[in-house]
Symmetry: C2
DNA sequence: GTCTATAATAGGATAGAC
DNA sequence: GTCTATCCTATTATAGAC
C-alpha cells in the first residue's frame, strides 16, 4: 500500500486555520475540503468520524503547537523573563499580532464546547500550569503564581476577542507587552 | 390593524439567548423559532433581512442592556467604587456567574465578525469609554484610565472564554472580584 | 401577524469506481 | 488514497391561505 501523497499531519495543519478563523459551527466541509485540497471522501478517509474528528485533530494539533512553541520555551535556558519572552514572541506570530483569533477560544463557543470540553479543559490547564511553574520559579508563592498564570491566559484570550471586536490590534499588543511584569514581578 | 400578540422587543429578547449561547453560525432558524414560539414566516415578518437582521437586533438589544444595566449605573449616586459594584453585580447576573457566555464575544467569531464589525466596535468602545470615564473621575490620568478600562473589558471577556474552556466559574468570579481595585486604585 | 407548505440551497456523510 | 456521484437531512428563505 503506497504512501499517502500528503501525510495526515499535513492535512491537519491545513484544517486548523479554518477552525481558527470560522469556529467549529462556521467551518463547513466545503471550506475544509478547499483548504486541504482534498475531496470530501478523502477527508473521511483520514477522519472516519467526520467533522468532529477533524475538530478533535485540530485541537490536538493546537495542543502540540502550544507544547512545543509556548510551553517548552518556558523551561529552556536563560532567566524566567527571557524564557517567557520566547513564548510571547511565538504567540504573537500565531495570532498574527492580534489580527487572528484563537482556535481554542473559538471552540469554546456553541456546540463544540460540549463536544470538546475535556480536551479544551486539558489544554487550557496545561498552559496555565506551565506559566504558574515559571512564576513560582521566579520566586512567587505557589497560590499567587497560579492566580497570575490564569490571569495571563485570560488576558490573552480577552485581548483577541476585544481587539477583534474593535478591529484593532492595539489591545493584543499592549496585553502581550505587560504580561512579563504582571506575571513575574514581585508584589 | 390589530396589535401584535407579542411586541417586537419581546421577540428580540427571546432571540438573544440563542445567539448568546450558540454564536451566530450555530444559531439555526429552528432554534430561533423555538425560542420565540414563532414560526419561520413570523420571524421573517419581524426581520425581513432574515438571520442577519435577527443578529443585528440581538446586538442592539445587548447594547441597550449594556447601556441601562452596566453603563448607566456608573453615573448614578455614590462613590465610583460603589457605582462600579452595581455594574459588576449586573454583569454577574447576565453571565450567570460565569456559566454563560457573552453575546458580543461570540459574535466576534466567524462570519458574524465581518457582518457586524461596525456594531461590535461601537458597543465595545462605549463600554470601555464608560469605564475610562469612571476611572478618570476616581483620579487617574486620562491615558492610564483608558488603558485600565480596556483591560477590564478584556479580562471579563477572557475570563468567560477560559472559564468556559475549563468548565469552571472560578476564573470569572475571581476576575470580577479584582476589577474594582485594578481599575480604580491609585498606582 | 400567523400559519402550513414548499422552494432552493447548503450541510454532513456515504458508495463505489479507479 | 482519491475521485465523482449521490443521499439524506437541515438549512435559509419564500408563497399564499387565513
Amino acid at each position: 500500500m503506497p504512501a499517502p501523497l500528503i501525510p495526515r499531519d499535513e492535512v491537519v495543519l491545513r484544517l486548523l486555520p479554518v477552525f481558527q478563523r470560522y469556529g467549529y459551527d462556521g467551518a463547513s466541509l466545503s471550506e475544509l475540503s478547499k483548504a486541504t485540497g482534498l475531496g470530501r471522501s478523502s477527508l473521511y478517509h483520514y477522519f472516519p468520524g467526520g467533522k468532529a474528528d477533524m475538530g478533535r485533530a485540530a485541537i490536538e494539533c493546537g495542543a502540540r503547537w502550544l507544547r512545543d512553541n509556548a510551553i517548552a520555551p518556558l523551561s529552556g535556558a536563560g532567566t524566567p523573563a527571557k524564557r517567557l519572552g520566547r513564548m510571547l514572541k511565538n504567540l504573537d506570530g500565531l495570532y498574527a499580532g492580534g489580527r487572528a483569533s484563537c482556535l481554542l477560544g473559538n471552540l469554546v463557543i456553541g456546540e463544540s464546547r460540549q463536544l470538546f470540553q475535556a480536551e479544551l479543559a486539558q489544554v487550557f490547564q496545561r498552559w496555565i500550569d506551565a506559566l504558574a511553574a515559571l512564576a513560582a520559579e521566579a520566586g512567587l508563592p505557589r497560590a499567587e503564581a497560579a492566580k497570575r498564570a490564569q490571569d495571563a491566559v485570560i488576558r490573552i484570550q480577552g485581548a483577541l476577542i476585544v481587539g477583534g471586536g474593535l478591529g484593532d490590534t492595539a489591545p493584543f499588543r499592549r496585553t502581550l507587552a505587560r504580561i512579563p511584569a504582571d506575571l513575574l514581578a514581585g508584589r
